[in-house]
């Protein structure tokens, strides 16, 4: 009986023993660990295309640049959000807003690189994304599933960069679908025959080569064995949101993004270090208000439910949630009633992981005339702060393959958030 069959049997009649499974172990471990020793995680909600700060986290109602966007009060006095984010408004006591993020990248690809790595694209080196840095710095040997996961990635999923492909995010689509690449296309009998055939070929290939070829050089068979372990891992259940109570799932909204955020919560419970979830469609060069409004309808329930559930499950203190895009949008509407790219002062929401909630950092000009926001925060400062909160010395320099020492982050701490 293999592990999968055993689990199947457990589910059928031996549910009392299900606590013996690694998944249950992981959950039990999380529950028993004190807040200080619990493994820390990060969830990043990428709003790809560039959300308008004015229609989300930084409304200026009544001003000439609002073009009719209204604001709503939140759980925090003096902190307003744009109308449409009513559910998120309720959890803002746990969330802080940085309203003065600045970058120098106004092109989607370059800005995404910048926001994901904390560095601007450089001709000589590929920087790792923040999730890759966290997995590199804080390895978790107990986890069988990938500890860096990208759900619904756009064309630029998180990469390991100079740390290596082993730190690339594992990509998956809508959690409603099975986890990609883990289900074999052949019966177990055929798989067995395939393994036998492969073993014959592998011994042919190893003849006359380095002794301990696989251990010392190729790691091919080792990776394959680990891949099989993953395929049979009970921790894969964390991906399967359909097993959870319907009401719990639907609180996130019946959308791909909602399901992805719910899966992110479950993956954090399973011990995954970093999960990025992408919600595309914010690039509103035309009809800004309408297209932003549609995206907000998807974002609002998912973001709010995620914060609530993390709090309810006592995971918010050990899980940092970051939400924002690669840049913001122009204060002025263009001729097509759209807003164009604006890296000179945009917003990001940040919560959990020891970050104080209910704070507002920086401010943009309500008239839209002054480009420079008050108390500007650079993209790399957000990276430095998250890494610091995870217990990482972000100033540590790694020697990259190009021979150049590069700090994990060259940002500074955003003291106001701590």
């Amino acid at each position: 009986m293999n592990r999968r069959n055993f689990l199947h049997t457990s589910a059928a009649g031996l549910s009392a023993f299900s606590w013996m499974t690694p998944m249950a172990d992981a959950l039990a471990l999380n529950a028993t660990q004190s807040k200080s020793t619990r493994p820390k995680s990060v969830i990043i909600l990428w709003l790809a295309g560039g959300p308008s700060q004015l229609e989300t986290f930084d409304p200026h109602p009544g001003s000439s640049i609002s073009y009719g966007t209204k604001s709503i009060p939140t759980a925090v006095k003096g902190m307003n959000l744009a109308a449409g984010l009513e559910q998120s408004a309720e959890v803002m006591n746990h969330v802080s807003l940085i309203r003065s993020v600045t970058s120098k990248e106004g092109d989607h690809e370059r800005a995404f690189y910048n926001i994901k790595t904390g560095y601007r694209p450089n001709p000589t080196v590929v920087h790792p994304s923040i999730g890759s840095i966290l997995c590199h710095q804080l390895p978790n040997p107990k986890i069988e599933i990938p500890s860096h996961i990208s759900i619904l990635p756009n064309q630029w999923p998180a990469r390991g960069g100079y740390l290596g492909a082993q730190y690339d995010a594992f990509q998956m689509g809508d959690p409603k679908q099975p986890v990609p690449d883990v289900i074999p296309h052949a019966s177990s009998q055929r798989q067995k025959q395939r393994r036998q055939g492969l073993s014959l070929i592998e011994s042919s290939f190893a003849k006359g080569r380095l002794k301990q070829l696989d251990e010392q050089k190729t790691h091919h068979l080792q990776n394959m064995a680990n891949a099989r372990k993953l395929m049979q891992s009970d921790q894969l259940k964390a991906f399967d949101v359909s097993q959870a109570p319907k009401a719990e799932r639907l609180a996130y909204g019946d959308t791909r993004f909602g399901r992805a955020c719910f899966a992110a919560l479950r993956l954090v419970e399973a011990g995954v270090r970093c999960i990025e979830v992408t919600l595309s469609g914010w690039d509103s060069h035309a009809n800004n208000h309408e297209s932003q409004g549609k995206r907000i309808q998807t974002l609002d329930p998912a973001f709010a439910a995620l914060i609530k559930d993390l709090k309810r499950r006592d995971l918010l203190d050990s899980t940092t949630v970051l939400c924002g895009g690669e840049f913001g949008r122009t204060p002025q509407l263009n001729a097509a009633e759209g807003r164009d790219h604006w890296p000179k002062g945009f917003s990001m929401a940040i919560a959990g992981g020891g970050i104080q909630g209910g704070r507002i950092i920086g401010a943009t000009d309500p008239s839209g005339e002054k480009e420079q926001p008050v108390n500007p925060v650079r993209v790399q400062d957000i990276h430095a702060t998250i890494q610091h909160q995870m217990g990482i010395d972000f100033e540590e320099e790694l020697i990259t393959p190009v021979g150049r020492p590069i700090a994990l982050s060259d940002g500074s701490l955003i003291e106001e958030l701590l």
């Binding site: 690809e109 690449d181 055939g197 014959l200 006359g208």
Partner: protein, 539 residues
């Protein structure tokens, strides 16, 4: 109209199948063009062989024996087209005598756009990276198409590099200008190319030196370079700016930089980091720099070119890291011989490739033949065995796709086949990961990569039962017996015939399933071969 399209499609597919049948049959080989080696060609190869032999003697190592000809064909095909050879190509190879094989194969590849397209992409990574760059003023595809044309026409490499460094005009009509415009930063005050980025690219890609490490400080690991060496090199690009007619050298403000420890930025004069006497007296600064970089006596340029081409062929540079070749030596003896040869042959890249491919080291096996003892790490270090290296991501994708077709997938293939390859490769790479610019950094494979090969869409789609599109099924149908099916599958994926025990094992497997499901057994055989170490590694 619709019926016309359907008829055309059916006719073309039927033609393709007939073509497949012809190439499946061993009795109808295509002939290859031969290549006459001159005496000087042979002398250079002998010099190289002697240099390596001397190294092996000094290191007390016995080099391995030559690899089988088909293994060498696989190496060349992977290096120059990014894919394993097709059965069609293998059949053509089998008609050529062994001593002619490598050079004939190269003659064939140099007439194939796959070589120039693939190599242009590999070279472009060192010139401009992989990122899209500034949206309005940069077209990477135009640059790689232009580069491919230059390589296909075998334009001397020094001319090509001069044109890149001194490129002028609009990035669409003058594709080489994209080498300059990729560095434009739309959010910077200066509306023109970034001098520091260009200096970094020029020094690494064309000189094989990492002078850009000195952008912010003097050399921390020696006293060879000062911060001013880097910025004086960058100053050659100071006059380049964007105008209505594209990139022009009419900037009036000199390049400025605030050195470490200084309070204010200062004007930086343009100066090369060594041998200023090679700078021509005329021309604008970029033209002067282009002449200096490619000067016949500028050995770092020749060495850097040799190292890059060597790396393409072996999947490992002669001197590592690829862009950090010591300026004052020591260099492997082969480096100097090849640099001399490159200069003497006017920077002819195809000639350089032919010479390297003809050397004993390129022809060596990567495994010892019994009763010789197994090689050690020292063998690879001293090039006494062909280095075992992991295939690059696009090589894996292209090879999986090629193995599913009996004929070669190239510019002459059916448009549907080419489109399929384009989309399948893109989807695969998105999940597998692209090495980006870290072309020759050894990296471990990953578990998701293994999962993708074991259970992923591409491999399943291209090996499952499909008599029209997949070689796995077609080989099963077209083979006269089980043995031929196994042998052909091995050629399609491993570019070698099966060993005795392999042939007998898999023939038996097919036999057992004869009356049940032979297509499924062929699918399983393809799956096994494609999931092996042998397929995923260059050897």
């Amino acid at each position: 109209m619709l019926s016309l399209i359907v008829i055309t499609l059916i006719t073309s597919i039927a033609f393709t199948l007939l073509w497949n049948k012809n190439h499946f049959d061993q009795s109808k080989p295509t002939t290859l063009t031969s290549f006459e080696k001159t005496n000087t060609f042979n002398t250079t190869v002998e010099k190289l062989d002697q240099a390596f032999e001397k190294n092996w003697q000094q290191a007390g190592i016995q080099a391995l024996t030559p690899a089988p000809p088909l293994t060498i064909a696989r190496r060349l095909s992977l290096a120059l087209t990014g894919t394993i050879p097709s059965i069609e190509e293998i059949r053509a190879q089998q008609s050529v005598s062994n001593d002619q094989l490598t050079q004939s194969h190269l003659s064939q590849l140099f007439q194939d756009r796959r070589w120039s397209d693939y190599t242009s992409e590999r070279l472009a990574r060192s010139y401009v990276g992989t990122i899209n760059g500034p949206f309005l003023v940069y077209r990477r595809r135009r640059l790689t198409d232009w580069l491919s044309k230059q390589l296909f026409e075998n334009r001397p490499y020094d001319q090509l590099v001069r044109q890149l460094i001194s490129a002028k005009g609009i990035w669409t009509s003058r594709p080489e200008v994209n080498f300059i415009t990729v560095t434009i930063d739309e959010n910077k005050d200066k509306k023109g190319p970034d001098e520091a980025k260009l200096a970094a690219r020029v020094s690494r890609a064309f000189l094989g030196i990492r002078i850009d490490c000195m952008e912010c400080h003097n050399d921390k690991f020696g006293d060879r370079w000062k911060q001013k060496d880097f910025h004086q090199l960058a100053a050659f690009f100071g006059k380049a700016q964007m105008s209505l007619t594209g990139i022009r050298d009419n900037g009036e403000k000199p390049y400025q930089y605030r050195y470490r420890g200084k309070k204010e930025a200062q004007d930086i004069p343009s100066q090369v980091p060594f041998n200023p006497e090679w700078l021509p007296a005329t021309g604008n600064p970029r033209e002067q720099l282009a002449q200096w970089v490619t000067h016949q006596r500028n050995r770092p340029f020749a060495r850097s070119t040799v190292n890059r081409i060597w790396a393409l062929l072996f999947n490992k540079p002669l001197v590592e890291p690829i862009d950090d070749i010591p300026l004052d030596g020591p260099w492997p003896a082969a480096m100097e011989i090849l640099a001399d040869e490159l200069v003497a042959h006017d920077f002819d890249l195809q000639h350089l490739i032919r010479i390297i491919a003809a050397t004993q080291v390129f022809q060596l096996d990567s495994r010892a033949q019994a009763p010789a003892p197994a090689p050690t790490e020292a063998h690879e270090k001293n090039w006494a065995s062909f280095p075992l290296t992991r295939l690059r991501p696009e090589q894996v994708a292209r090879s999986v796709i090629q193995s599913a077709s009996i004929t070669t997938i190239d510019a002459h293939s059916h448009i549907i086949q080419r489109l399929m390859r384009f989309f399948q490769q893109g989807d695969f790479l998105k999940r597998y990961g692209d090495a980006g610019e870290n072309e020759f950094t050894p990296s471990g494979g990953t578990i998701p990569q293994r999962l993708l090969l074991m259970n992923g869409k591409l491999l399943h789609e291209r090996t499952k039962e499909n008599p029209l599109l997949n070689a796995s099924t077609r080989i099963g149908i077209l083979s006269t017996d089980h043995q031929q099916a196994v042998q052909t599958a091995y050629l399609a994926i491993f570019t070698r015939p099966p060993e005795k025990n392999e042939l007998s094992y898999f023939t038996q497997q097919l036999k057992q399933l004869e009356n049940k499901n032979r297509d499924q057994a062929m699918e399983d055989l393809f799956w096994i071969l494609l999931n092996s170490t042998e397929f995923s590694w260059n050897h």
